[in-house]
């Protein structure tokens, strides 16, 4: 048993060395294959990462559904208080915050950098408003409260603040599905690239395989160096994809920093975590391995005596 394991380890070590030598022997061909695999993998990975980040933001925005009620501009403080009471008594309402029109104007002046423009106005164009947070997260219940509030006296307009974020979230979900689909297609492409590379290698090593088989080599012995070759090439492609995604994120975040500052936000695209990177390397190596396995198995099946 121990001797069997030693033989297995020796043969795997030999196959690994053989594969590494062959990769190093034709550096240009290896580099081109690695670039093809790396770029192919970086597209779905980068897209998936970006969309996941945006979806996180959209989810955060849509997770606290709010309804904004804007009163008529001539509504008095008694009428505002009456609406506030109604809201507080309402079973669907979790909390109510009153935003006086003077406060709203003040916020607008400071937040959006419109002080000069707004200062030139003769009167405040903004109405009093209530920001209502509702209990639960049911779109139907929200819609019902929205309809109900519109019918109340002195309520000029009611707006579901989270609706756009929900729509964005739905669009991003579709985007993520498309990225996954793209990933599956490009993974199949990676398998095909490796399959073809190994097929060409088999052609150049046909004599060696034939002789080895005739004198007692198992299929595993024949397959092993090709599997290591495919796996190592896939792994190198995965590293290349990681580098492409990391580089692209660095550039994007540099540009995003300026844009985020304009909106007083610290938003930036997150990089691949260590775990994500390991998954990427593992999947890339496994796909290379699979392409090689399919290619060698097909050849061995063809040469098997029947």
């Amino acid at each position: 048993m121990a001797e069997g394991l030693r033989v297995w380890a020796r043969q795997n070590g030999g196959a690994m060395r053989d594969a590494t030598r062959r990769l190093a022997r034709s550096p240009l061909a290896t580099l081109l294959n690695v670039v093809v695999i790396g770029v192919a993998l970086s597209l779905p990975v980068g897209l998936y990462l970006g969309l996941t980040e945006l979806q996180g933001v959209a989810r955060q925005l849509s997770s606290d559904p709010q309804l904004s009620l804007f009163l008529d501009r001539d509504a008095g403080s008694d009428q505002a208080r009456e609406i506030e009471e109604r809201l507080k008594r309402h079973p669907m309402v979790a909390s109510v915050r009153f935003v006086a029109k003077e406060r709203a104007l003040d916020d607008l002046k400071h937040g959006a950098g419109l002080a000069e423009v707004l200062g030139s106005l003769k009167e405040n164009p903004l109405p009093d408003a209530f920001v209502v947070t509702v209990k639960g997260n049911s779109p139907d219940a929200l819609e019902a409260l929205h309809e109900e509030a519109l019918a109340w006296p002195k309520v000029a307009h009611a707006q579901l603040d989270s609706e756009w974020a929900r729509k964005l979230d739905a669009v991003l979900r579709i985007g993520r599905m498309l990225a996954l689909l793209l990933g599956v297609l490009l993974a199949a492409g990676l398998v095909a690239v490796t399959f073809n590379t190994i097929r060409l290698q088999i052609l150049t090593r046909r004599d060696e395989i034939e002789v080895a088989k005739l004198i007692g080599a198992t299929d595993a012995f024949v397959r092993r160096p090709f599997l290591y070759f495919g796996g190592l090439q896939g792994l190198a492609g995965g590293l290349m994809a990681w580098a492409v995604v990391a580089g692209a994120l660095w550039f994007l975040n540099r540009e995003l920093a300026g844009l985020s500052a304009l909106y007083a936000s610290g938003f930036r695209l997150g990089s691949l975590s260590g775990e994500d990177a390991l998954v990427l390397f593992g999947v890339a190596a496994a796909l290379g391995w699979l392409g090689a396995w399919l290619s060698v198995s097909r050849y061995l099946w063809q040469v098997e005596p029947r």
């Binding site: 033989v7 043969q11 004599d207 060696e208 002789v211 007692g216 198992t218 299929d219 098997e304 005596p305």
Partner: protein
């Protein structure tokens, strides 16, 4: 050790290479299969080493019927044989020693032990001084001897040689025959196919004669 019972081999297209062949080879025996080109000698050796499977009949090697073997077990059966091919089947992209090391790598032997055994095999066939030579730089006789070194490096129970002197002149042929006789003398079972009656006479041992795929004669030399 090897028993063929009513073996017929028909190839796709209908060509019948062997017809109803039956015989046995005992352990330690020296057997020469003689016959003209196309008589079925190569096919017979391929059937014995499970490179081909019989269309009808059975080939049993050390109690294992080649037709009943799982595909995964076939390589282990082939390792019982040292194969000397008519066309040598040397690997021309590696040197003499590396050619001899291939069977050792297949069974998982590596490093110094493998090199020591590889050199011993080369020494046995008189090629130790040419261990670094590429096969293309070797003469026909040297290539044949290299092929024999590769066949014996794993100390197989049976040595199968297909026309080992077919491409050689008289002097080289005599050397090769002596090599096989020396392997037989240390207890190795040897089966050699040849179209050359002179080779058969020098080898002595048992002779099987094939004519158009049928065994016509079995005699002791």
């Amino acid at each position: 050790m090897i028993t063929l019972t009513h073996v017929t081999k028909r190839f796709p297209g209908g060509h019948e290479a062997l017809r109803d062949v039956s015989f046995s080879v005992k352990s330690g025996e020296l057997v020469t299969v003689v016959g003209r080109s196309g008589a079925g000698k190569t096919t017979l050796l391929k059937l014995m080493s499970a490179i081909e499977l019989p269309s009808t009949g059975n080939v049993v090697v050390s109690g294992q019927n080649t037709k009943a073997l799982r595909p995964a077990a076939v390589p282990y059966l082939r390792r019982k044989f040292g194969m000397v091919f008519q066309d040598y089947k040397l690997l021309f992209d590696r040197n003499a020693l590396d050619n001899v090391l291939l069977p050792l790598h297949i069974v998982g032997l590596d490093g110094r032990d493998a090199v020591r055994r590889g050199r011993a095999a080369l020494d046995k066939v008189g090629l130790l001084s040419r261990e670094k030579a590429m096969p293309v730089t070797l003469s026909g006789g040297e290539q044949q001897r290299l092929c024999i070194a590769r066949a014996v490096v794993n100390r197989p129970a049976v040595l199968l040689a297909d026309e080992p002197t077919g491409n050689l002149d008289e002097a080289y042929a005599r050397e090769i025959v002596e090599l096989f006789r020396s392997f037989h003398q240390v207890g190795t079972t040897v089966v050699i196919s040849t179209h050359d009656r002179a080779v058969q006479e020098r080898l002595a041992g048992r002779t099987l004669t094939l004519v158009d795929g049928a065994l016509t004669d079995s005699a002791h030399g």
